[in-house]
């Protein structure tokens, strides 16, 4: 496949094509080349070329969440959207942002902040994450509590199809029901249906004031508090429950509940007071503000997704549970597990220093008996090969296969990396 680069050279400028070593790739991905289109038209030409040559293509942004998801069945070409990083339109008055898929969240944030607006996502590795990668992995964190998932923020999409044609859906307005919702279809599709080239999101206004309440204590009291909180009219912007090991990383004892309130100042104070009034004597509470209020959330993210891998054997999984089951599930984890569950949605992340296939199955069973799920993101290759990575337990795989067959008839887009070997 050495001629991949050569063939591509007839379609795009040579300087767009780099050797695989230019990316930090997991060992099992051995493409012949990596290509960095600088325009949507180049991306389209590359995909048309790949199609003609039956190359297997994996899209990426910055490139290292590539180890997430299934192992796959090989790759000839990696297409990076890293140079497709332009903001197309920040419609300030309409509070929408249209940008290319390779734009980095970290680069956009200051620009949006100038207008007191922000894109309400807090993914893993926020410094590197590109919009395309965030959408393709549906990766956001604690902000889900108030702002929902990627699916709730994305209002328009353009993507390059397997044949190089550019398709779009949705639009640039916040309310729109014209046509099928391909935004939802592409969100969380891990590069298996097309290469996302452009995205439009709804934005939210920055908030005047912010405070975080940290409550710590034993499992029973924590469960009761959480249940009371869910039934209360309080509206935290973020609400997470942390396993004892994760709480310990932040310097706390026992289970921790961290709730962030953001609003106008009197609103924040009112909510903080109400929460403190709910905290019984067996729990202890602390209010964080200013830099501390910011820092605690960043520290949780950094503990779950460390920039430098501490243990090569570590596994990271995305879990989903009915919210009322979250604390019990956390309590059954092996001690030392770093885990966080979002209180409202029951979606969370767990990180173990190491795990066997049997452990994964056991942890997954704990989720599925409660109608939840357990999906491996990071894991050593050997483990990924010995267990199902995704943990899809439903009966709609046939529909997913039919969709994949339409969007990728020759099975060239991230082949084998998605649910059910798609």
């Amino acid at each position: 496949m050495a001629n991949v680069a050569e063939t591509l050279g007839e379609v795009v400028e040579r300087d767009r094509i780099l050797p695989p070593a230019s990316l930090h790739l997991p060992d099992h991905l051995t493409p012949a080349a990596v290509v960095y289109p600088a325009t949507e038209a180049e991306l389209s030409a590359i995909m048309a070329c790949a199609w003609e040559n039956s190359w297997r293509v994996i899209p990426c942004g910055s490139g290292s969440k590539l180890s997430w998801g299934g192992v796959g069945s090989g790759v000839d070409l990696i297409v990076s959207t890293a140079r497709l990083d332009q903001v197309i339109d920040h419609a300030v008055g309409d509070m929408t942002l249209t940008a290319q898929a390779g734009a980095k969240l970290a680069d956009l944030a200051p620009r949006l902040a100038q207008h007191n607006q922000f894109l309400a996502v807090d993914p893993a590795y926020p410094e590197q994450a590109t919009l395309g990668g965030i959408v393709a992995t549906a990766d956001t964190g604690s902000l889900r509590q108030r702002y929902g998932g990627l699916r709730d923020l994305l209002i328009g999409i353009s993507f390059v199809r397997f044949d190089g044609a550019i398709a779009k859906a949705g639009g640039r307005v916040v309310k729109n029901v014209a046509g099928y919702d391909l935004m939802k279809l592409l969100t969380g599709s891990y590069g298996s249906l097309g290469i996302i080239s452009q995205l439009t999101f709804r934005l939210y206004p920055g908030q005047d004031a912010s405070k975080t309440v940290v409550v710590t204590g034993a499992v029973g009291e924590m469960e009761a508090l959480l249940s009371a909180l869910r039934l209360s009219p309080l509206t935290p912007a973020a609400l997470d429950i942390l396993s004892p090991a994760l709480a310990n990383r932040l310097g706390y004892e026992g289970f921790a509940l961290i709730a962030r309130f953001q609003s106008i100042a009197p609103g924040v104070d009112e909510q903080v007071e109400s929460l403190l009034a709910m905290v019984g004597p067996a729990l202890s509470a602390q209010v964080l503000q200013g830099a501390e209020d910011e820092q605690v959330w960043a520290e949780v993210g950094a503990a779950l997704f460390p920039m430098f891998e501490e243990q090569n054997e570590a596994i990271v999984a995305k879990v989903g549970l009915p919210p009322a089951k979250a604390v019990t599930w956390l309590d059954q984890l092996p001690s030392g597990s770093l885990a966080r569950i979002h209180g409202g949605s029951g979606i969370g992340t767990v990180r173990l220093a190491a795990a066997t296939a049997d452990m994964v199955k056991e942890l997954r069973r704990g989720c599925t008996i409660n109608q939840g799920y357990f999906t491996l993101l990071e894991a050593p290759l050997s483990l990924k090969k010995s267990v199902d990575v995704w943990g899809y337990s439903g009966n709609a795989l046939g529909v997913m296969k039919a969709i994949k067959a339409q969007f990728d008839p020759h099975n060239c887009l991230s082949p084998g990396r998605f649910v059910g070997g798609l």
Binding site: R161, A167, A169, P233, I264, P323, S345, I347, G394
Partner: protein
């Protein structure tokens, strides 16, 4: 029925099969009983289906769809029939599957804030079922006392409280669906973001073209402690539009923010006589905010200031439930009021970027003048979702066509300023020929792939949502992919 239209299908064995599957009392064939199913809320289009069936369970829906598949006859789902885009308009020689009698609330789980319903459950029954415990179901279309949750799911319906809390799709966690093949699948689940493609998200808003939802898992919300409604009146539409922008720019997202123009507020005063909308105002804004008491009070003060800074003449604030309802009453009755003022009215549904409001309203007025009709504007100002109401008389030959032309011009205007041809009523039969104004042939072909994947024989509501060359002419020619040879006969 003319000879040319007469059925080419032998319905006898099909109806026998339905009777076996459902019992003959759930299979409706008599002309006078079928009459009520001839149209949905878009009453200007009518078509009699060959037969109407009234299943009670998922299994019965599956049995009916399997029979349709076996005999290769198209079917159309219908909930309460309040849709405004002809989504539930029957197709000639089709089976109409009415979910109205699938009306059970199957489970309520307050701790996890979920309710599971059958599709025929009426929207506001959900809130009624959980309000005692302090919860509610947020999406609240004005038709909420009559429309079904199944219809809401199919149209991805919105309502006045969707500005802050989102539309139907943001509140549906899972679906049990009978696919066009008759297979039963679960999409999504108890928890959001189940592994795999977001098929639940894809299904919501698919207008009955991907199958029939037979169980729906909804997310419910805790009712806010305190609610305030502000009514502000303005002497120019521009000023009201500027106030809307100022409020959003200040970082405030009200639960709802609605605007009515002079024509519509007078219509409402004539008919409903709320005595709270000043008749000489060029426009009024109704703004609802909710939350904890201190927050609501402070936010209300700030909104009132912003309205005044942008030229509001008077501001009325209501906090007590009765007062709030009084302020909302006129807005909620706006469509009905138009119905009383004129023999017929045509509701358009388009979306524009919020900042284009003043320009678009002027253009709509000019378009109305050009076509010789008055247009009343009632709309969800916070998210730029317009509902121009055009008054006309269907008894006068030619008026409907003229009004449809005007409606079409308004849609094209919405697209031209960067908006959409539908914010919440759907494409249905009514707007599919405008799809090429908004989407390229490639876009439409790609959407066609979704349909091919789920409904390869094109039996589920086949003449809706996507355009076809036959009905929409040249513009749709390049998307022949959605019209398979075997659907030539309808």
């Amino acid at each position: 029925m003319t000879v040319a239209e007469r059925s080419r299908i032998d319905w006898v064995p099909i109806i026998d099969a339905f009777s076996v599957a459902l019992g003959s009392d759930r299979v409706v064939r008599r002309k006078e009983e079928i009459l009520v199913y001839e149209c949905d809320g878009l009453t200007s289009y009518r078509q009699r289906p060959a037969v109407v069936v009234l299943p009670k369970t998922t299994e019965q829906v599956a049995a009916v769809v399997k029979i349709c598949d076996r005999f290769q006859v198209p079917f159309v789902a219908r909930g309460a029939g309040t849709g405004l885009s002809g989504g539930a308009l029957p197709i000639a020689d089709s089976v109409l599957i009415v979910t109205a009698t699938m009306n059970q609330i199957l489970s309520v789980d307050l701790d996890n804030q979920r309710v599971v319903v059958q599709p025929g459950v009426i929207n506001n029954w959900v809130t009624q079922a959980v309000s005692g415990a302090g919860f509610y179901y947020a999406p609240d279309p004005s038709s909420q006392s009559v429309c079904s949750v199944g219809g809401n799911v199919a149209e991805n319906s919105g309502g006045v409280h969707c500005l802050k809390y989102g539309v139907t799709t943001n509140h549906v966690l899972g679906l049990k669906v009978v696919l066009p093949t008759g297979d039963i699948v679960t999409l999504g689940g108890e928890v959001a973001e189940t592994p795999g493609y977001d098929l639940c998200g894809l299904f919501v808003g698919s207008e009955g073209t991907l199958g029939i939802a037979t169980e729906i898992t909804l997310r419910i919300l805790k009712a806010p402690q305190s609610i305030q409604v502000l009514l502000a009146d303005f002497t120019s539409v521009e000023a009201a539009g500027a106030a809307v922008s100022a409020i959003t720019s200040a970082g405030i997202i009200p639960a709802g923010m609605e605007m009515m123009d002079n024509f519509s507020l007078n219509a409402v005063e004539d008919v409903v006589a709320t005595n709270c909308y000043p008749r000489d105002a060029a426009a009024i804004l109704l703004i609802e905010i909710d939350g904890l008491p201190a927050e609501v009070t402070a936010t209300g003060d700030r909104i009132a200031d912003l309205c005044r800074q942008n030229g509001a003449r008077t501001i009325t604030i209501a906090t007590e439930a009765e007062e709030r309802l009084r302020l909302w009453k006129g807005r909620k009755a706006a469509f009905a009021a138009m119905g009383k003022l004129s023999p017929d009215y045509y509701v358009q549904d388009g979306v524009i970027p919020r900042t284009q409001l003043p320009y678009v309203l002027k253009e709509i007025e000019a378009l109305g003048d050009k076509h010789g009709y008055r247009v009343a504007n009632v709309f969800h100002a916070g998210d730029g979702n317009l509902h121009p109401l055009i008054l006309y008389d269907n008894a006068i030959p030619g008026q409907l066509e003229q009004v449809e032309d005007l409606g079409g011009d308004i849609l094209k205007l919405c697209v031209r300023v960067g908006g959409s041809i539908s914010g919440e009523h759907g494409i249905g039969a009514d707007k599919r020929c405008y799809m090429p104004d908004m989407f390229s042939p490639t876009d439409l072909e790609t959407m066609g792939w979704v349909r091919q994947a789920l409904d390869p024989d094109l039996l589920a509501n086949p003449t809706k949502l996507l355009p076809s060359p036959r009905t929409c002419g040249e513009a749709a020619h390049s998307i022949a992919a959605v019209t398979l040879p075997n659907v030539e006969h309808f």
